[in-house]
Symmetry: C2
Subunit: 341 residues, 2 copies
DNA sequence: TTGTAGGCGTTATCAC
DNA sequence: GTGATAACGCCTACAA
């Protein structure tokens, strides 16, 4: 089934069929309706590769994922092993669907060059790249091509005519999380950092320290670990073991995984959350709605990272130049912080 | 950049470039290496739409999702609102990537016809359709086209030359879950069903009842609800309120959400899980690794539904006829069932 | 308002 | 072993 068949059936030429499909104005009502009827009857849809080849947009965007940073043990993890990345990926898919775009997902890795084929040749109108904060040579090369790209969570900022970037405002997040705890009457706040080598962690910690300073609070406690439940659990467990009279009333965790581990450790030591100790996380993962207690968190993900990236991409596709964007931050109140303001 | 440019640079014809790209045997080593060098130097990749138009496979499969069944309040939910669907979708993406396929994700809905364009015209080599168990007219129509399709979780079995189906073995799952509890010395087992209208629920409950019968256990207790945490929570809370001397020692929950809600309700009533009451869930969601206690569950998802669907699809693409498949079931032991065998 | 024809970048079928 | 050429299905000037 193709436009020639439709044309023959409708008694018109292929170009007329094309005009109908693409909503050209200069076409008579009769012809249009006649053609549309035939199209409908024959369940005809234009061939996407052919349309693309002929220069049209496809309504498909690429989602390129660099998984090198998602580690599991010593090995590279897949997206589905991580609730965080699963949520981020499906959020991008959902946001795209919402504005009528479909998403072509591919991984960036050295083994396969599938992603290059997809990227280098436009079945896609543009792409969002999740780099996991990693400087990856290939990504730098990609940005030099003519494709429209949005770089997500790529802290080493690059930008050009065809490239935009979107990053969470980690500093502000750290600041607001700390501020929220202070407003709820906490003065002894422990901050558990994620991977100390990542800018993300450093900026969140900077926000924490700056906020304490601004509020004239001297006691700052920072322990560095990893962005995992196990790490949060271990750090708090060890801390409680080594400090019989623990002296913090709240924890600002580097992300929700750490928060969850910290909460488990506290609970196992018969310290109630949030009555005895409050905990605030970061990332606002959906997971946080299913734990006990549910996790109060810093939101930059939900309706932010995904939708902003997509909007930026659409702007690029529409011909606007690349820009740099930092997402807004808000506290999502759940039950792991005791309300006492 | 296209094959003509490469051809000119290499001093050969376009056909020769094509032969090199597609690994044709009848070509001299010299020519091949010369062309490959030019290709490399110029960072050239063949144009996917053009290849597809000329009749080649693309290495892209479609993932079509019918979201009508994923409800949130009264409204239709997005995939990212559901940890279950997020995990399923990313598992399929991961499994595909693993064998070198990229995934084009699109939703099936009445508002947009994007999915039809994608489906009806082959940038994709085939598609997996997640129907959420819903009889949807459009899906039936799709199976009549010539595309290669795998229907996931579509209990009303359809199969033809181009269509395979994959379903979880809900009956066996219900049976094995119950058997596992019995083996751990439970005789009073409450089963909390999900949506009673869905075959999924009915089959799990059938498995439960058959297993009790096979083990000569008279007491069967079934309460029907929905596939949600809230439902599990409410049912157990109400039960405990109305039965001061509750008489079950274990719960078989219709899925992990229900299990989670049930556990919360038990804990709030100072009933310890698993010491006082054991709970087993269904679906083996990643979520179950982050709760306290972690949730023992019936696994059909992990490395099953996703990978089997994909294998089936690849078989179809390779020209084999459609088949019907039911996934294997296994118990994943975590900490919500007390080991007492 | 409609039809004709060239081109998009490949692959495949012929020749040579 | 390699080069010309006709598809693949569509879009878009240009002509009428």
């Amino acid at each position: 089934m193709n436009s020639s068949v439709i044309a023959k059936l409708a008694g018109v030429s292929r170009s007329t069929v094309s005009r109908v499909i693409n909503n050209y104005p200069d076409i008579s009502k009769e012809t249009r309706e006649k053609v549309l009827k035939i199209i409908e009857e024959n369940n005809y849809y234009p061939n996407l590769p052919a349309q693309k080849l002929a220069g049209k947009k496809t309504g498909v965007i690429g989602l390129l994922i660099y998984t090198g940073e998602i580690k599991k043990g010593g090995n590279y993890k897949k997206v589905s092993d991580s609730l965080y990345y699963s949520e981020l990926v499906t959020k991008i898919i959902d946001a795209s669907e919402n504005i009528g775009y479909s998403v072509l997902v591919s991984y960036i890795n050295k083994k396969s060059s599938n992603w290059k084929k997809i990227f280098a040749n436009g079945i896609i109108d543009g792409a969002i790249i999740i780099s996991g904060g990693k400087k990856y040579k290939e990504i730098n090369n990609l940005t030099k091509l003519e494709n429209k790209i949005v770089l997500l969570d790529y802290e080493d900022y690059i930008s050009n005519e065809n490239t935009s970037t979107v990053n969470p405002n980690n500093f502000e997040g750290g600041y607001k999380a700390t501020e929220y705890l202070i407003k709820n009457n906490h003065k002894k706040i422990l901050h558990i950092m994620g991977d100390i080598k990542r800018k993300m962690s450093i900026n969140r910690a900077r926000g924490y320290k700056t906020c304490l300073k601004d509020n004239r609070i001297q006691d700052s406690m920072i322990i560095a670990g990893e962005f995992s439940e196990q790490s949060g659990y271990k750090i708090v467990t060890d801390y409680l073991k080594n400090n019989k009279n623990f002296d913090f009333t709240a924890i600002f965790a580097g992300n929700d995984y750490i928060a969850l581990g910290a909460i488990k450790a506290l609970q196992e030591n018969n310290i109630k959350v949030p009555e005895d100790v409050s905990v605030i996380g970061f990332d606002n993962m959906l997971l946080g709605e299913y734990t006990s207690p549910t996790i109060t968190s810093v939101n930059h993900l939900d309706k932010q990272i995904a939708e902003k990236s997509l909007n930026k991409l659409i702007n690029l596709i529409d011909g606007e130049p690349g820009t740099k964007e930092i997402t807004c931050i808000e506290i999502v109140e759940r039950n792991s912080v005791f309300k006492n303001s």
